[in-house]
């Protein structure tokens, strides 16, 4: 583990304890690390997105965080952060692959070179990303839930644990978010609100 891991771990702990400045310091480092790793994985990747995404975050986690010093809650925070990072990385990746948006259309962008991402769930990640940005302006919490679930693969229990709300609350909020996003995308980016 590198020397600055201590600082990162402390940042993570501080952030979990509510220190927003710590988050500000933590995020770029984690992002850089994930991005560096992602670049490596994505370059040689020919399909096994699943495995590699996991491995990627895991590696970042092991590399950056001194696990002796963090609690489960801290780790969960880290993964939430990682989910956010994954969103950026996947979107960047999709963009680079040339799936540019066409103004005003529902953009059916999918990760064709990542076959295990099935077309139904699909993930026009670029479109969802933008829709989420719009949702966040209305309700940050809803956007976060979608981000965790859709980009991070968090289950409702874990989201509840992370955000300190009950599982049914998470489920209900997700329903609303999903309806809102669907409508947003279906209407070509006009939330109507």
């Amino acid at each position: 583990m590198s020397d600055n891991s201590r600082d990162l771990t402390q940042l993570l702990v501080d952030w979990s304890a509510g220190d927003q400045e710590a988050f500000g310091e933590l995020m770029p480092v984690v992002y850089d690390e994930l991005h560096r790793l992602a670049a490596r994985y994505l370059r040689r990747e020919r399909g096994d997105h699943t495995l590699q995404t996991t491995a990627l975050v895991h590696e970042a986690y092991i590399r950056l965080i001194d696990q002796k010093r963090v609690q489960w809650q801290n780790s969960l925070q880290f993964f939430a952060l990682a989910a956010q990072m994954m969103r950026r990385i996947l979107v960047d990746h999709a963009r680079r692959k040339g799936y540019e948006k066409h103004g005003g259309q529902v953009r059916r962008v999918s990760l064709d070179d990542a076959p295990e991402v099935s077309r139904e769930r699909a993930a026009d990640v670029v479109a969802v990303d933008e829709a989420l940005l719009a949702l966040a302006e209305v309700d940050k919490e809803l956007a976060r839930i979608v981000e965790l679930r859709y980009f991070g693969g968090f289950k409702s229990e874990e989201i509840g644990e992370l955000m300190g709300v009950s599982v049914p609350t998470v489920t209900r909020k997700f329903s609303l978010a999903k309806a809102w996003l669907y409508r947003y995308l279906a209407s070509g980016g006009d939330s109507g609100a």
């Binding site: 995404t53 994954m86 099935s118």
Partner: protein, 905 residues
């Protein structure tokens, strides 16, 4: 959208979702009141909800982080290994993970540390390494070593083990945090030394001793952890540390690594001594002898080539800085209690502590302390104001120590030392002057021998055999003498060697084997260097060292030395010289101890006896000595009548020539006692053992190996007479002495452990008995030849345990092995063979193979009976009882009754 409106929307949306689809529209109309915007939004969202289907339901990347979360969560929370619930990861090393865990079915919820190979690291070599660590931990049971509690394999077949969870702070932090004084630090360090010494005695070299591997608990108890790269030694490696080859494992912590670790050379216990030196340095100064350098290469060079600064120098440099930066700053790295100022600390370290640390840190393994115990002992000496071994000697030093400690004795001792050294110096000065005039080498040697004869006379004052019980100061005199010889006679290697040897032999007599070995090896080295092979004095050194090494169980090197010595002596003095006889005796002892080559040993003894009788006459102590040895051998080969004659003869001669209050006479009494005990003549044996124990206790002291032997023998006698608890008590006492003196891996220690195991077995303490019996067998398998009949004691012992547990399948291979050994070793009927046969008979009884059992048992019973010629001997009765058990099982009441009648009421 306004926040308020949005919240309202969310609320209504969720309430609507709980309604059946048909009722939602009406609900919305009502709930939004007159707000058309809200109503429109809600309807749009509900419609979106209905048509969104699986949109966003699955994560964009399957598994994704969630999979990882759950893996990690498992790691943290719910994962179980065996009956243990893992609470959190404590650490991760190159090949294993350690978790804090708790036993689920344990009502006390005791926290433990669980170590397991992670699935992704599962490799054969790591498994082997892991098993070794587990095995090593299992063999160690010491208050200051984290204990192995349990082990097993996980559901997926990965090995794990469970240790004490030590809640504590790293030792250096502990010292600083609690502002321990130097004395307290030293005490703590000595406790660590004791743990390391214990590991070494169990043939384990830790190889990674460092502050972070020693945690101190709240109550101040240091615990040595992480035997992850520890190494199991073969026992020979102990006696001859430099000859041991180890695999090249690079240490994990360069700051604590010894030169030989850096070089990838032989690893011995001396490696741990070095690391202990680093630790001591750190505890005293707050610094490491070699702070981390810019590159690994520089670090290695420093360790290999540079002398570290003396602790006092390091401290004084720091102090200056501290002094300049005012008193308000927290003290130097070592936080002495406030009353000690930096200058005082420097003064405190200057001298003894400097020297002790520097001796442990020497580059050459053989020039460090020979054991952790010796390092610890030297610190104790320092704390008690005694002279330390590591000191660069000077008259002023010795005088100041001496005055401080004992004002009354000083006059006597000072005079004594002045006499010793004065004489030696005088003689050597003369020798040198004369040497200029005449044939140099020859003359110097003559003179040297004169000096030696004189000094040996004086030293023999401290040989307990010469002085009855007045040996209290012997150790002191020796220790001082040794220092003096080392430094002040450095220019006179031949004289120096002779004195070293004299001291080495006396140390040996006192049972201080480490010191003895160091002195004798030094003497041999000096003589080889300055006289060359084939010299009579070299032969003498080889003989002395050989005798010592045999006592320590290092048979191979002992034999090599003794054969060389014998050859030289025969060449120089002819075949009939007493010195040749002496070599023959010593060689006989080795071949007897090592392989129980009885026949060749007997020939050697008889030949030596013949030479010695011719040269010195029948009553000479040397003749008696050979007779005693021969007697033991005769007993071992079952020739009791011859043996009794020999033993009585030896004892009588010694009583007459040496008096009753003499260790040699005690030896003879002991030997006759052993012999009578074997024959079941307990009433005659008891007073002899008591006499022997009494003399040894008084003259040799309660720590002496021979005292341990008396305890062992008396214990055995008590066992024979049925006082099992008394026997157990004596064995335990004796074992403490022998373990300390011989080290855990010595065959002798195995024999006493075995005895303890048997006594426990006979008291029905099967569990503890099993531990001891297994341990004894393990030591013997490691230290004895595969065909040594001594192995049989342990095979039979453990075999009996399995019989007692009703596990004939486990007993059988052991007993068969013993039987084969005995049949090969004894070329005539022997009670041990007969007894083993009865045990195999018992195995057959338990297996229900009654006819085979009967043949073996009857045969064995008759064998034992005819050997001891005593129907009420315990071993005879054991055989009878085994027959009774057979016939009971077989349902033959008449036979049962017939054999019952043989047992005295």
């Amino acid at each position: 959208m306004e926040p308020d409106l949005w919240r309202r929307l969310e609320e209504v949306f969720q309430q609507a979702l709980e309604l059946p689809e048909g009722a939602r529209s009406a609900f919305i109309a009502e709930a939004s009141g007159g707000d058309a915007t809200l109503r429109g939004e809600l309807e749009a969202l509900l419609s979106a909800h209905e048509s969104s289907g699986s949109f966003l339901e699955e994560p964009v990347v399957e598994g994704g982080i969630s999979q990882l979360i759950r893996e990690q969560k498992d790691d943290y929370k719910s994962r179980k290994i065996g009956p243990y619930r893992l609470l959190k990861k404590l650490g991760e090393g190159g090949m294993s993970r350690v978790y804090l865990a708790v036993r689920d079915d344990d009502e006390y919820q005791k926290l433990v540390a669980l170590k397991v190979i992670p699935r992704d690291l599962d490799r054969d070599d790591l498994r082997r390494r892991f098993r070794t660590e587990r095995q090593i931990l299992a063999s160690l049971d010491h208050t200051n070593i984290a204990k192995l509690l349990d082990g097993g394999t996980t559901e997926s077949g990965l090995p794990y083990f469970v240790m004490d969870y030590i809640e504590g702070v790293q030792i250096d932090e502990y010292c600083d945090r609690n502002r321990l004084s130097i004395v307290e630090r030293l005490e703590l360090f000595r406790t660590v030394c004791a743990a390391v010494q214990y590991a070494h005695q169990n043939l384990v070299v830790h190889r990674d001793i460092k502050a972070s591997n020693i945690l101190v608990t709240d109550d101040g108890m240091p615990k040595l952890l992480d035997f992850g790269i520890a190494k199991l030694l073969k026992p020979e490696a102990f006696a001859a540390p430099v000859e041991f080859t180890a695999t090249r494992i690079r240490p994990m912590t360069p700051s604590y690594a010894s030169p030989e670790q850096i070089r990838g050379r032989h690893i011995t216990t001396a490696t741990d001594i070095y690391s202990l030196g680093v630790l001591l340095y750190k505890l005293l100064t707050g610094r490491l002898p070699f702070e981390l350098q810019k590159s690994p290469r520089e670090m290695e060079r420093a360790i290999l080539e540079q002398e570290p600064q003396r602790p006092s120098t390091v401290v004084s440099r720091m102090s200056n800085v501290e002094t300049v930066s005012t008193d308000l700053s927290p003290g130097p790295a070592v936080q002495e209690p406030p009353r000690i100022q930096p200058a005082q600390l420097r003064r405190r370290l200057t001298g003894d502590l400097d020297n002790i640390a520097m001796m442990a840190l020497r580059k050459e393994p053989q020039r460090r302390y020979a054991s952790a115990e010796m390092l610890s002992e030297d610190i104790r000496r320092h704390m008690e104001g005694l002279p330390v071994f590591a000191h660069k000697d000077s008259l002023g030093y010795r005088a100041s120590k001496f005055v401080k400690r004992n004002r009354i004795a000083i006059a006597v001792c000072a005079a004594f030392i002045a006499l010793l050294v004065g004489f030696a110096v005088n003689m050597t000065v003369q020798a040198r002057r004369l040497a200029l005039e005449r044939d140099q080498a020859q003359h110097e040697r003559d003179r040297a021998e004169e000096v030696v004869a004189f000094l040996q006379e004086i030293f023999s004052f401290s040989d307990p055999e010469r002085t009855g019980s007045e040996e209290i100061t012997a150790r002191e005199i020796l220790d001082r003498g040794r220092r003096r010889i080392d430094t002040e006679l450095a220019g006179q290697p031949i004289i120096q060697a002779s004195l070293m040897e004299a001291i080495g032999n006396v140390y040996n007599t006192l049972g201080l084997f480490d010191w003895s070995e160091a002195s004798l090896r030094r003497a041999l080295e000096l003589r080889l260097e300055h006289l060359g092979e084939g010299d009579a004095l070299v032969a003498q050194s080889e003989d002395s060292l050989g005798v010592l090494l045999r006592a320590r169980g290092n048979y191979e090197e002992a034999e090599r030395l003794l054969r060389r010595s014998l050859a030289t002596r025969q060449k120089l003095f002819g075949d009939e010289h007493p010195l040749v006889a002496q070599s023959l005796v010593h060689l006989a002892q080795v071949s007897y101890d090592k392989t129980e080559a009885y026949e060749s040993a007997e020939q050697l003894y008889r030949r030596a006896l013949e030479i010695m009788r011719k040269a010195r006459g029948d009553d000479d102590p040397a003749v008696t000595e050979i007779l005693s040895e021969l007697g033991i051998l005769l007993v071992q080969t079952g020739r009791f009548e011859e043996a009794e004659v020999v033993f009585r003869q030896a004892l009588e001669t010694r009583r007459r020539e040496l008096g009753n209050d003499n260790p040699r006479t005690a030896d003879s009494a002991n030997n006759l006692g052993v012999f009578l005990g074997i024959l079941g003549r307990h009433d005659e044996a008891l007073p002899l053992f008591r006499e022997s124990l009494d003399v040894r206790l008084r003259i040799l002291g309660e720590d002496h190996p021979a005292t341990g032997e008396s305890l062992n023998n008396l214990g055995r006698l008590l066992r024979e007479t049925g006082d099992l608890e008394g026997a157990e008590d004596l064995y335990r006492q004796g074992l403490v002495i022998w373990r300390k003196r011989f080290g855990e891996g010595a065959p002798k220690v195995a024999s006493m452990i075995n005895n303890l195991g048997i006594v426990l077995l006979e008291q029905g303490e099967l569990e503890e008995a099993e531990t001891h019996l297994r341990r004894a067998l393990a030591i013997r398998r490691q230290s004895l030849d595969a065909n040594s009949p001594d192995l049989g004691w342990s095979l039979v012992g453990l075999g009996r345990l399995f019989l007692a547990k009703g596990e004939p399948q486990n007993a059988e291979p052991l007993i068969r092995e013993a039987l084969e050994l005995y049949e090969q070793s004894f070329d005539r009927p022997h009670w041990r063979t007969a007894e083993a046969r009865t045990l195999l008979g018992e195995v057959r009884t338990l297996q229900g193979r009654y006819e085979e059992a009967e043949t073996l048992l009857v045969d064995g019973y008759q064998g034992v009976l005819s050997e001891f010629q005593n129907p009420s001997h315990r071993r005879t009765l054991d055989a009878v009882n085994r027959l009774i058990r057979l016939y009971e099982a077989w349902g033959k009441p008449e036979e049962v009754a017939r054999y019952r009648a043989l047992i005295p009421a």
